[in-house]
């Protein structure tokens, strides 16, 4: 059976992942173990979730420059409100210390429900952004650029200094040690399947992607583009929330600046996974693979032991090599 160019292109992200893994195992055979996978990949889970969130927005031809700070916001909420209610906020603790608030707080100030409300607020804001962008026909880049400051501001207000404590259930979820298969691998597969089901298999998923391919056609077929945008942005908010929660489960505490890098990482992950910026062409499985590849690239570099001057540059080089390999295979295939 001969592969078509399109099939090969879909397989490419997986292929580059395999090559990278092989290189890692060659450099560091110890990585090829249960513990090895755990250590190399557990931080890929939040990145994969953030990448899926970014992908939802890219599907409808928008870009989310705020996903990194939003994930940071969720992490801060997770480390404070979600674990100890308002009583876990540094401001409240300070007020208690100064005697302005009693040492034992009323029930309402200790319930983690406030955290749930704050997370729901995050998703609602995302949905509202989708609506705003559609109504006013705004460039998403500017709106989300503005939002990146908003989320950062809220995070700094919640946690002026890094700290807090992740809720126990997140901590134990993220440190699960199932038999045989390391947790990060299971999680990555679950995320990929879930996102794929949602966007590629449901019938409304076709409409959602279609809105990226030809919005006018979707409108002429009687669908509401407003609803589509709201859905996609809310989904982004949802996956971004999962990213933040899984991240705080791993780091155990929050930090406003914790995930600034996720914005670019998530965009790179989507593209690495075979998605495109416009036209609704996306691949959820590819996006997850892209996120995992990016994470492993870091391990690979660290195993290479390059001079510190060039360590930063090497990260650039590896991104280039992975993407260039894709182009070269692509081109060789087309010539065949």
């Amino acid at each position: 059976m001969r592969l078509t160019a399109r099939q090969l292109r879909t397989l490419l992200p997986a292929l580059s992942l395999v090559v990278l893994l092989a290189a890692i195992f060659y450099l560091q055979p110890r990585a090829m173990s249960y513990v090895g996978f755990n250590l190399m990949l557990n931080l890929a889970i939040p990145i994969a979730l953030a990448t899926v969130a970014q992908m939802c927005v890219i599907t409808v031809n928008d870009l989310d420059l705020s996903i990194g700070t939003y994930v940071g916001f969720v992490a801060c909420v997770g480390a404070t409100l979600l674990s100890g209610g308002m009583g876990a906020l540094p401001v409240v603790k300070e007020l208690q210390a100064s005697g302005a608030l009693p040492a034992t707080l009323p029930w309402i100030m200790q319930t983690p429900l406030v955290g749930v409300v704050a997370l729901a607020f995050g998703i609602a804001v995302y949905a509202a952004l989708g609506a705003l962008i559609h109504w006013r026909n705004l460039p998403s880049i500017v709106v989300t650029l503005g939002m990146s400051f908003v989320w950062l501001g809220l995070s700094v207000l919640i946690l002026p200094v890094p700290g807090g404590q992740a809720p126990a259930f997140l901590r134990s979820l993220m440190t699960l040690k199932p038999a045989y298969v390391p947790f990060p691998i299971i999680a990555a597969i679950v995320i990929a399947i879930l996102a794929n089901l949602l966007l590629m298999h449901t019938s409304y998923g076709a409409v959602l992607r279609g809105a990226g391919g030809n919005p006018k056609a979707i409108e002429r077929a009687g669908w509401s583009l407003l609803k589509v945008k709201i859905t996609m942005f809310a989904l982004a908010g949802f996956f971004g929330m999962l990213a933040g929660l899984s991240l705080v489960g791993l780091t155990t505490s929050g930090d406003a600046n914790i995930a600034l890098r996720y914005t670019l990482l998530s965009i790179a992950g989507v593209i690495l996974g075979g998605g495109e910026f416009v036209g609704g062409r996306i691949s959820p499985v590819g996006a997850v693979i892209g996120a995992v590849t990016l994470t492993l690239a870091g391990s690979f570099l660290s195993f290479m032991r390059i001079s510190p001057d060039w360590q930063i540059g090497a990260q650039g080089a590896i991104l280039i090599i992975v993407l260039a390999a894709r182009t070269l295979i692509d081109r060789a295939e087309r010539r065949r």
Binding site: L138, G153, L154, V156, L319
Partner: protein
Amino acid sequence: MNSSFLRNLAGRPWLWAYVAAIAVWLVIVAFTGGRGGGEVLTAAFTFATFSVIVGIGQMYVVTLGPGNVDLSIPATITLAGAVATKVMDTQNGMILTGLLIALACGVAVGIVNYALIWLLRIPPIIATLSSSFLVQSVAIAYGRGIRIKPPPALADFTTAQVLGMPVLAICVIALAAFMELVLRRTLYGRWVTAIGQNIRAARLAGVDVGRTRFYAYVMSAVFAGLCGYLLSGFSGGSSLSMGEEYLLTSIALVVIGGSSVAGGNSNVPGLWGAALFLFLVVTMLNTYGFGAGLRYLATGLIIIAVIVAASARRPAR
């Protein structure tokens, strides 16, 4: 005639950046009770100058269409600053050599960027991000983070003022006017805008797509190099972090200034409005004593408010 003039003005998306800048300035002056308004403007022009220089290059790149953006601007600023100050080694006689070398750094980075985009077909966002890591490494290896003073004459030039107006700002206003002319009235400008709207149609209309994009990426990097050179003259030497803030700023200028991020529709005047606006917002929040958290929050909300206000006035399509 009068009403059509007004309509014409309202149809210009860049107007809103200026309206917002003036509004913020008034709020600042209100705090001080009218004192120091001029000085605030002087400071705003001083620092907006550097953002506008890189904003122009970024704008040309963004105009090329969806997905086109230059993320290597900060690293290029840093590299050009480091190399230029080291080569000039505080000697006035080397000022011109330093400038040429800073610009050459830009040319080199631009060529690398476009090679990645064109030869290896890497999406510009990722190509310029990757190359920025490489460039940053070169800057570290070359300069080792050592801060060398600029030649005194360069420092004097970059900090000179006439009647409260920074000389550098005047030069960059002229530069901006020139680049607006290039965008609107030259073949090259038309080609950039054509590509941004429909790259395939541009090719079939006879536009030299490859070369046009190449020049845009090189231009962006060259402006970044120029910015690094002037900035290290202005702030007493180069540092490894001197470019960091220009990543978000350069993009924010383009979009707040009223250029379309979907490409094909841009303007230079908006860059100045947006640059002044952004500086004044930070100043306003500092003046009113906002903490970091509230300051970020307010900055974000103000940006969104400006863009929503501007959109309401834009024609439906």
